[in-house]
Amino acid sequence: MDVIITNLGLLINATLIATPPLLFAGLGSCFSERSGVVNIGIEGMMTIGAFIGAVAGLYTGNGWIAFLCGGLAGAVLGIIHAIVCISFHADQTIAGTAINFLGTGLALFLCKALFDNSSDTPALDPASKLPKIFEGVFKTGSFGSNVLNVYGVAYLVFVLAFVCWFVFYKTKFGAHLRAVGEHPEACESIGIDVYKVRYTCVILSGFMAGLGGAFVTLATINQFRPNVIVGQGFIAIAAVIFGKFTPHGTTWACLLFGLCTGIKTLASMSNTVSPNLISMIPYVVTIIALILFVGRANAPAANGKPFVKAR
């Protein structure tokens, strides 16, 4: 029984480490995609968020301010993406790819410029990271410590997921953003400012991707390196498609990916199964889930199509 409880604790702990970055980025991506702007620049936005988060942590010594700065850095890239895609009707996939290059390249460039040609930032002091809840309340390694003594943000992100769901389905803005992604011409005809809605959504998506990146450098580890994000932005996009472009679907998809990381960790301790097979778990589960339970992913009708205002 004790073994089961311990392992359950570890599983939840691993899930709470792996899920938040994906979920932040994924929820943001929902806004962008549902408003009709494809954003594959999530990876670049996460990387710049991770970098600026770490740097702000170094200079301010306050985890929350640093976390917010990471988000704002992502939002800046979001603004660029929005201008290029919305105002100038550029191809959204190409613009997103450029954002990926820009984000990762700029982070490395600035890092080298600021820190004496080094590609990693100096390590953060534990006090300037995001705070943990229940620090020191539970014995290290106990169930309580593994489940509850985690970074507060790891729980906050689920509150955010609920807020996103609320915004999507219970507010006027949510109705507008969903409509804009399906039929922008119709929206314009009834007086919704398509550009304004899309700008808001794309910048929000950059902000949240930045938060996801900052979580990695301010909670998971304590410094920025060029390879701390690698691939997570794309997994977040996969989670959004998997979750049928809805906040709640995305949450479940991100949790599934996170849970698989937990299973992977526990399985890799026994060394009886080939580690290569274990590494396949998240992807195999995704494919099976896609085939059996999800069915067709319904992308918004106007997703990826530039909208030109009627003169």
Binding site: A18, P21, A90, L106, A113, S119, A123, T220, R225, N227
Partner: protein, 362 residues
Amino acid sequence: MKKKLMAVLLSTAMVFSMVACGGSDNSDAETTTDSTATTQETTEETTASSDVKIGLVTDVGGVNDGSFNQSAWEGLQRANEDLGIEVNYLESKTDSDYTPNIEQFMDEEYDLIICVGYMLADATRTAAEANPDQKFAIIDDASCSDLDNVSCLMFKQEQASYLVGYVAGLTTESNKVGFVLGMENETMNQFGYGFCAGVKDANADAEILQANANSFADSATGKSNANTMITNGADVIFHAAGATGLGVIEACQEAGIKAIGVDSDQSSIAPDTIITSAMKRVDNAVYDAAKSIVEGSYTAGVITYDLSMGGVDIAPTTDLLSEETIAAVNEVKEKILSGEITVPSNKDEFEAAYGDIYTLDK
């Protein structure tokens, strides 16, 4: 108007990303050409070393991996400063870049092409066989040792791992230590053999918890692996897992236990947590290879960098270790140098001496 604006915007973005990508192609490379030019002028008669060009082909890690690609490039930059040779690198983004990168250096008539990592073994062999006059060096691979234009730079990482294992064995109070591996293969397993041997020799009662994260870039998995070990009672954890290991170190820091770093002296990442590191001086090996070209003493075949040559070592930072531990480790180090202790470097040697307690190998 809008079109023009967009053109300006896009080209700015492009320039930025180019600058950023080329950021690593830093001023050193430029100063190289400058300083070469000046040295050429001053020492023209002596066919100066400035004519020598050495190229580095990285594996998919790139020169900023914070690990051995970076270390190799630092060694080459040092050679550039000390010896006045021209140096350059090409990063491989995918496995399919190895051959084109090697060919580019060959086209530009580089004197020596250094390939970083066992992943380039096949590409190096093909190129070396087709171009017998071109000199190569490859790090962490001995499969090309039969060719007379490839110098194989090997490391005895098990010796450094043995020393940190010895430290771990002496430090642990719970008699449980952890080991997180980045990937299972011959070279990486040597870290495990050395570590387990060191732990057992220092503390026969110690149990070694082991996990294979199967990635060098997944810090979340590294953190979860370490948390699992901590929950199971480990109080010292050694990682040989690149960026995955950052997660391991962070988990140790949060739990207030000890961690052991790898490749370079990682103490600065968590000064109160990292008690020591197993260092692998790829930079020294690359520097020596460059020097051998300048001095005309290049030799093909396997060159093994061990403790005696400064190729591997235990980190100089010892702030968190007790006097007794430092003394004991120095004693063991002497014994390895004198040949009194032979650290096992493969499955057979290890299992003959310690039994099948290292479970991550096949």
